[in-house]
């Protein structure tokens, strides 16, 4: 399945953008203006769609002309490109988008041709699949870890570095007690927020 590498799915969607020469602000510009203001950190809609490793939204204005003797040609529409790398299967992911980020999905895709709205999530899923282009070759360097596993690992890495620094030269019994404390704290800690820096919260355990 070329769209997948291990447990990671590489989604490529090209949604044709509506055209209306009578509008003061074109649909493509409206998308760009909205995206410019959309937060990228833990307030991002993709942080709520929590299986997302990385995602981008791009307005593709046209194909490229590489110069003579190649032919110059143009698309009939601009396209909104949605590229996402996420855990799990496509249907679950698209339904999670509807559930967790309906406001943002609507604000962006309302400018696209054929967008059915979100009242019926099944219709939205079908619409997105009609806009999907199969990935020809997909490369994921780490393809066997979920977003949550990676965030946990980064948190552990940070905590371990701080622990080692703080506990150099301690007697074995104290070291063991301190280690059990940090292990317990990490086990009971809430999952780190996607989109954030991973802090050193456990340095003082």
């Amino acid at each position: 399945m070329p769209n997948q590498s291990g447990g990671v799915y590489g989604l490529t969607i090209l949604s044709p953008i509506k055209q209306d020469p009578h509008l003061k602000i074109s649909h493509s510009l409206a998308i760009r203006m909205y995206l410019q203001r959309l937060p990228q950190d833990r307030r991002s809609p993709f942080a709520r769609v929590s299986s997302t490793h990385m995602a981008r939204l791009v307005v593709m204005d046209d194909v490229v002309y590489v110069g003579s003797p190649a032919c110059e040609e143009h698309l009939q529409a601009q396209y909104l490109v949605f590229e996402s790398n996420f855990d799990g299967d496509l249907d679950t992911y698209l339904r999670q988008m509807v559930r967790e980020a309906p406001k943002e999905v609507d604000a962006v895709w309302q400018h696209c041709d054929g967008y059915p709205g979100l009242a019926d999530p099944g219709q939205f899923v079908r619409y997105m699949k009609r806009c999907q282009i199969e990935t020809t070759f997909y490369f994921a360097d780490v393809n066997d870890k979920t977003v949550q596993q990676t965030l946990r690992a980064l948190q552990t890495q940070s905590a371990v570095a701080a622990f080692i620094e703080k506990n150099q030269g301690r007697p074995a019994a104290e070291l063991q007690k301190a280690f059990l404390g940090v292990a317990r704290a990490l086990r009971n800690a809430p999952a780190p927020n996607p989109g954030n820096a991973i802090g050193r919260e456990f340095a003082d355990e």
């Binding site: 070329p2 990671v8 590489g10 490529t12 090209l14 949604s15 044709p16 998308i31 410019q36 959309l38 990228q40 950190d41 942080a47 997302t52 490793h53 990385m54 995602a55 981008r56 939204l57 791009v58 593709m60 204005d61 194909v63 490229v64 590489v66 190649a70 032919c71 009939q76 396209y79 590229e83 790398n85 041709d113 009609r130 282009i133 990935t135 070759f137 997909y138 490369f139 994921a140 360097d141 870890k145 977003v147 596993q149 946990r152 690992a153 980064l154 552990t156 890495q157 940070s158 371990v160 570095a161 080692i164 019994a173 063991q176 280690f179 292990a183 996607p194 989109g195 820096a197 991973i198």
Partner: protein
């Protein structure tokens, strides 16, 4: 600049291909899927989180309403999307220097591709076909690909030590020292991108 979020750069590029050449590129990717050694250098470079090549046939750009006129294109198009660490220049330099064979095998079939070496015409060609990202999100913006791999190695070693941490203190100390040796190369801190490297 929306191409960058934390330590990741989102690159988008497009190039035209004559339709008969598309089949050659498809065959190249088919073989790459079944011979993982073909991507060994990509794995060894370890600065790409995710990358993909997508061939869009000249008649396959989605068209969802009758109002939208049909495209009348002569070329198929090769789209390339990458999520990498480092600067644009570093990325292209590394591609040209280390992956020139792979680069030529994939893009040789695109119109007017100048070749992976020398690097200046390559950069000019990519600049011509690159388009900007309007919004970019990553769940772990301050971690590079190497950071992610290192963190998973630390997690595995930590879990092993934690599972056996209730042994007598002197035995624990020995296990802890072995743990230190095992993870010492994987403890680099994540954080903001150094100033001036964007």
């Amino acid at each position: 600049m929306s191409n960058i979020h934390g330590k990741a750069y989102a690159m988008n590029a497009i190039s035209p291909m004559k339709p008969w050449k598309t089949w050659i590129v498809r065959a190249v990717f088919f073989l790459m899927r079944y011979f993982p050694s073909a991507t060994r250098n990509l794995v060894n470079l370890s600065f790409i989180h995710f990358a993909r090549w997508v061939i869009v046939r000249r008649d396959a750009f989605p068209r969802l309403s009758a109002q939208l006129p049909k495209d009348n294109l002569k070329y198929d198009y090769l789209l390339f999307f990458s999520n990498f660490n480092g600067t644009w220049n570093q990325y292209i330099d590394a591609f040209s220097a280390v992956l020139s064979w792979g680069l030529n095998t994939i893009w040789h079939w695109s119109e007017k591709f100048p070749g992976a070496v020398p690097v200046t015409p390559l950069k000019n060609y990519i600049t011509q076909g690159q388009f900007e990202t309007d919004y970019y999100y990553t769940a772990y913006p301050h971690a590079t690909t190497n950071d992610v791999k290192a963190a998973h190695r630390v997690q595995a070693a930590f879990d092993e030590l934690a599972a056996a941490a209730d042994k007598p203190a002197d035995e624990f100390e020995k296990a802890y020292r072995r743990f230190l040796v095992r993870v010492q190369g994987d403890l680099g801190a994540t954080g903001e991108l150094p100033v001036g490297t964007e």
